[in-house]
């Protein structure tokens, strides 16, 4: 059982995701996490602001349970199924990040430079969290899905729109990493 404590190889992770999709399909549902963000809006009263949030959220309750499980899974995996936190990325990439001021690359799970409680008082770190989250939430709903809804469920069902969305994900990601990161993390 030692393997379970080590970082999982890509094929195991890919199979795990496919299994999640299969179980949801067999439950008569579809795999898509970002839909829950819309449900949260409705729960917060957004249905008084826009027609888009007027729907019977009780019918989406199952997906909220999936989210609670996703959170619980993170707790179980990090507390009971892992020996170490460090993510061993490509050493060249780690070095590149060190030069950009992200010293924790290669020795942490997330960059300590912006994912710790102490850094919440650092305006740059806080801006990264807020802007990053906003773009994910806005973009996912605009595109009609996120990585799970488009890249996994949509591509598996051979949907052209999902392929366009996935190309969009990559165009956006590459723009951020190659054009915008040099501005915010000058090396």
């Amino acid at each position: 059982m030692d393997w379970i404590m080590e970082p999982w190889p890509w094929y195991l992770a890919g199979a795990g995701i496919a299994l999640v999709m299969l179980l949801l399909l067999l439950s008569g549902r579809t795999f898509g996490v970002s839909s829950n963000l819309r449900t949260f809006c409705t729960l917060c009263g957004a249905d008084h602001q826009s027609e888009f949030f007027k729907f019977d959220w009780h019918r989406e309750r199952w997906n909220l349970w999936v989210v609670v499980g996703t959170l619980l899974g993170g707790f179980l995996a990090s507390h009971y199924l892992s020996n170490e936190e460090a993510v061993h990325i490509n050493p060249n990439t780690a070095q590149e990040l060190h030069k950009m001021g992200i010293e924790s690359a290669g020795s942490a799970y997330l960059p300590n430079e912006f994912f710790t409680i102490e850094q919440l008082t650092n305006p740059k770190a806080l801006a990264l969290l807020i802007i990053g989250g906003f773009l994910v939430g806005f973009g996912a709903r605009y595109a009609g899905g996120c990585t799970s809804g488009h890249a996994i469920s949509g591509l598996s069902n051979l949907q052209w729109p999902s392929l366009i969305a996935v190309f969009g994900f990559f165009a956006g990601g590459l723009t951020m990493v190659y054009l915008i990161f040099p501005l915010i993390f000058p090396s």
Binding site: W10, G14, V20, F52, S78, V87, G132, G133, F138, G173
Partner: protein
Amino acid sequence: MKSLGYLAIGVLFGITMYKSEAASWFRIYEMFRFASFHMYGIIGTAVALGIIIIATIKKFNIKAFDGSPIVFESKDKTFPRYALGGFIFGLGWALAGACPGPMFTLVGAGFLPLLVVIASAIFGTFIYGILRDKLPH
């Protein structure tokens, strides 16, 4: 009971995201720098198996656990919303280093600043809902 089933599926998903490091900001950065096969392997395997799974369900008309037929909804065949929405999502994915699923996994793993990211993602969804009629779809 059904809720427990969904909870269990979520747990499987969360553990997979954490243990595969797909929830790590570093892995997302590395993917966009084309510096490792890891993330491509994960998504590639999931999609390859997913295609087989869905084709099999359709071919053999496999029913859901409760006996009802499994329906696949086709997405609207337009362009702007997928290209523009996808692009905006991608910017955020690379910046925050997490897509919606892993955001929750990371909170469970104890990275509480992700709560800020989630709150902001909910706010982003809200702003989309407000602007929806003015955006090209």
